[in-house]
Symmetry: C2
Subunit: 140 residues, 2 copies
C-alpha cells in the first residue's frame, strides 16, 4: 500500500521476531515494551508505536481497538498476502475478554453477500464480532 522506504534496524527485527512468535494473538504496545524490558533489551515506547504504525501501513500487522481495553491491540498477520488467512474472523467475549479465532465458510459467505447486495466491501481482518462465549453464556 504505502511504499515508504524502510530501514532494517535491530529494533525492527526484534519486534518482527516477537510478533512472528506470537501469532493469532492480540498484543498491546505495553505488552511489547514489558516483554523487551524483561528480556533486558528495552525498546522505547515511541519506537514501538512508530514501527507498529508503519507495519500497519505495510499490511504486516492489523490494528484493533477492542472494547473494554482503552489501549489499541495489534496482531501480526504476516507479510505474504497469498499465504494470509483471509477467512479468519474474530469473536470477542464481552464478559471474559476471550478472543476466539473462527474459520467458517458460512460466515465468509456474508462477505460476498455484503458486497453483492449491499455494496459494502467488508474487511474481515478489521471486523470483530462481540458477544458471549460458551462458558459465559452458560453462566448467565
Amino acid at each position: 500500500m504505502a511504499e515508504k522506504s524502510t530501514y532494517k534496524t535491530k529494533q525492527r527485527e526484534e519486534l518482527i521476531s516477537y510478533l512472528e512468535a506470537t501469532p493469532a494473538t492480540h498484543i498491546t504496545v505495553s505488552d511489547v515494551c514489558d516483554y523487551f524490558k524483561a528480556k533486558g533489551k528495552p525498546i522505547g515506547t515511541t519506537t514501538v508505536y512508530r514501527q507498529l504504525e508503519k507495519m500497519v501501513d505495510e499490511g504486516l500487522v492489523q490494528k484493533y481497538i477492542l472494547d473494554g481495553k482503552a489501549s489499541a491491540c495489534f496482531e501480526y498477520t504476516g507479510g505474504d498476502s497469498n499465504n494470509r488467512d483471509v477467512s479468519c474472523f474474530h469473536c470477542k467475549c464481552e464478559k471474559c475478554g476471550k478472543l476466539i479465532h473462527l474459520h467458517c465458510d458460512e460466515i465468509a459467505a456474508i462477505e460476498a453477500h455484503l458486497y453483492e447486495h449491499h455494496n459494502f466491501k467488508l474487511n474481515p481482518l478489521r471486523t470483530v464480532f462481540y458477544g458471549l462465549c460458551e462458558e459465559c453464556a452458560k453462566a448467565v
Copy 2:
C-alpha cells in the same frame, strides 16, 4: 438491566433530547460537550460520561469503540425494548467514516449460525462491520 434509581435532572433531559434528535449516529463525548457549549449551556464532561454510562446500563444507549478514533462513540437506540430494532447491523466505512445501518435477514441468520455451530452468542448491537462503502470502494 441494572435497576438504579435515576433522577430526572435538567442535564439528563437535555442530553436525551440531543440524542433523540440525532438517531443512527455515532457521537463522542466531546461532540456532546461541544454542542452544548456552542448552545450556551455547557454540561460538564464528567456528567456526560456518567450519564452516558448510566444510559448504557439502562439500555437506552449503545457504546462502541471504533477503530481510527481512540475515543468511544455512543448511539441512542431508544428506550422501548419492544420497539427496538434488534436486527440492525452496523457497517462503518474505514475511509470516509460513514456509518451504514443495515437490515438484512441473511446477515441476521449468522447470529443463529454462530450460536448453533460455534457456541457464540452474538451481540448485534455491539458488533460493527468494517470495510469500504460503495463510493470509497469505487474510488480505489
